[in-house]
């Protein structure tokens, strides 16, 4: 009855309290809204790194733009006294992600790095993950996209090009994380060092508003920033346990 024993062992393992909190790494991003200028360099970098299609004017008008990271703009106040606020919004890599429970084929799941991973090949396109996601950061391929002649040469070979009918979203540049881990293994190190891996958006941010790292590492830069009194999660009341931490903008008037 090796099958039963096997199953029991797995069951015990999965039911162990704290199993889901134990990660090899817990990749975290902090976004300092005080530093963010809303320049959208991160958006462009992401687009280039992850083979995100440019959908074109017509599809954009229909509300089908693909931006794994987007800058949300909010206007505050009435005309003469207006304030513009913006906040970069990307997949929060929730530890208790609503999107993971709803996928009938487990195309989206939590990996051992604490990332909310998406398997494009497994996706059947029910789009329920996008409905369940309160941050609205999942993007669906409404049709096949193509890159005109010279542009197809610039596609990133480390990232797949997604087919029509597939959901996609920010991966924290999982291809870079993999590379860093491989590198660490080749160098006979067990762990990836802080600062060794950066997603495209973090790498590009001119004001270094975005910081990326492993929050399990007590010396990492993100771990320090997470203790900042300005730190908060977006929609924290929904208990999704996001891995992206925002640092509140300092109000000059309020000081």
């Amino acid at each position: 009855m090796s099958f039963i024993d096997d199953f029991r062992a797995k069951w015990r393992e999965y039911r162990r309290p704290g199993y889901y909190e134990e990660f090899d790494y817990a990749w975290t991003m902090t976004i300092d809204l005080d530093r963010c200028t809303g320049c959208e360099a991160c958006v462009t970098a992401c687009q280039a790194e992850n083979n995100i299609p440019i959908v074109g004017e017509e599809a954009f008008a229909k509300g089908r733009q693909m931006q794994w990271i987007r800058i949300e703009r909010y206007w505050e106040g009435e005309y003469p006294d207006v304030k513009l606020r913006f906040i970069p919004m990307l997949c929060q890599q929730c530890d208790a992600a609503p999107c993971e429970t709803v996928c009938p084929v487990s195309a989206t799941y939590h990996n051992q790095d604490g990332l909310n991973a998406q398997i494009y090949n497994r996706c059947i396109g029910t789009r329920s993950c996008a409905v369940y996601c309160p941050y609205e950061v999942r993007y669906f391929n409404y049709n096949d996209h193509h890159w005109d002649a010279p542009l197809d040469q610039q596609l990133n070979p480390d990232v797949s090009v997604r087919e029509k009918g597939v959901m996609e979203k920010c991966t924290f540049c999982i291809q870079r994380i993999r590379q860093a881990k491989d590198q660490a293994k080749d160098d006979d190190r067990r762990r990836v060092r802080d600062g060794e891996v950066q997603p495209a958006c973090v790498q590009t941010c001119p004001t270094q508003a975005l910081v990326f790292g492993n929050r399990l590492d007590p010396d990492a830069q993100v771990t320090g920033l997470m203790d900042d009194p300005r730190a908060y999660h977006v929609l924290e009341e929904l208990n999704t346990a996001p891995s992206v931490v925002y640092l509140k903008k300092v109000e000059v008037d309020a000081v």
């Binding site: 487990s106 059947i124 029509k164 597939v166």
Partner: protein
Amino acid sequence: MQSDARDISYADVNRDVVRSLVETGRTYYITLATAITVTLVCFFFPWFYQLYYGLGAAGVNHPGVWGTYLASFIFWIGLSHSGTLLSCVLHITNSSWRKAMYRSAEAMTLFSLVVAATMVMVHLGRPWFVHWALPYPNQMELWPNFKSPLLFDVMAITTYVTGSSIFIYMGTIPDFAAVRDRTTGWRHHMYVLLSLGWRGTDTEWNRLGWAYTFLAVLIIPLAVSVHSIVSWDFALSIVPALHQTIFAPYFVVGAIYSGTAGIVTVMYMLRKYMDFGQYITKLHFDNLGKLLLVLSLIWTYINVLELFTGWYSGTSTEYEALNYKLFGYYAPLYWEMILFCAVAPLLLISKRFRTSFVPMLILSILINIGMYTERFLIVGTSLSRQYLPDAWGLYVPSLVEISILIGSLGLFVTLFMLFVKIFPSISIYEVKETLPEPEDAPDPAPQIGAPEWQPTR
């Protein structure tokens, strides 16, 4: 026994039902041809285009990733709910008025489920991989996600389709036998196969009775669970207007409501075009009308409760969702739904209304339009107003979606038209139970005469 005694005999029942199967008029062929054309042109053609182009052919966009396909799916599942469920409830409560109508009601269940399953295929981004949602053994040791409400759906609906197919088929076996003995040619051969060698012995009747009652009892909780589970697709999300515990009873009541209205429509059609005026009488419309009235009141109550829950939550997101639903872009549709499903059915209080056929037909169609609107609003308005205002949007169905919606009706009608020529659409043996036994005249086919078994009394 039926109160309005009709002077029809056992032989008349046999003759009438067999006639409905064998004699086919012009109207039938014209309707069938139209239905098939509509199905091909409005359903399959746009669907193939969508398969080729991608889901972008539909109007779905970023916040509104679910569209009318899902609304149609809920609608058809809902429509399926009254047939078998109603038939089962009426069977175990021994309501004899069920007997003339239950066969067509059950067929409606079955075909609605077929159309609903097709709508799922249309809804998916990559329907060619739909089998991945089934737990089949495979080399990769990949299982579907058992935590997913969508997977509960797959399970529940598969079970429901299986259960209702067995139920309708089993209940028809004696009738297949009756028709077998009165037909010739290829029809005879077909019914020989379908009747599974039914001879009409006491033992057979006894077993049929037991199995039938057993299945009826089994199907009732199943039917209730199916639509509860469909509602969990929505209620288990954290979308403001959808995350409500009232959703399961809301969907179940809505399903039975629209299903009952659907039965009224189908019965009117059968009465009118299949000449079943003697069997489907005012009594049936009266009783169904009462049922519709009760259901409409429950439905209205739950609707008010839904609004109350949103208001009572006191959160800005719920307020916004509520506000958008009541006064937003789709507000006219909301008030149309209230008019058709909550206000208009109050007419059913009058018995004169319940027993007049054409007003009942109109009302039943209005109710189903209203119920479709309800499903559309659940999908169309809730997703547009979620937590982050930056991601608010508007979903408008595209032509492809509207065409597929019309085509799905065509598909349903096609299936139903084929059904009425294969299945005896009125239960021969159960209608006979309601008639006085013949005194001296021997029945032309004694072996399928009045059944000896009594349903559990």
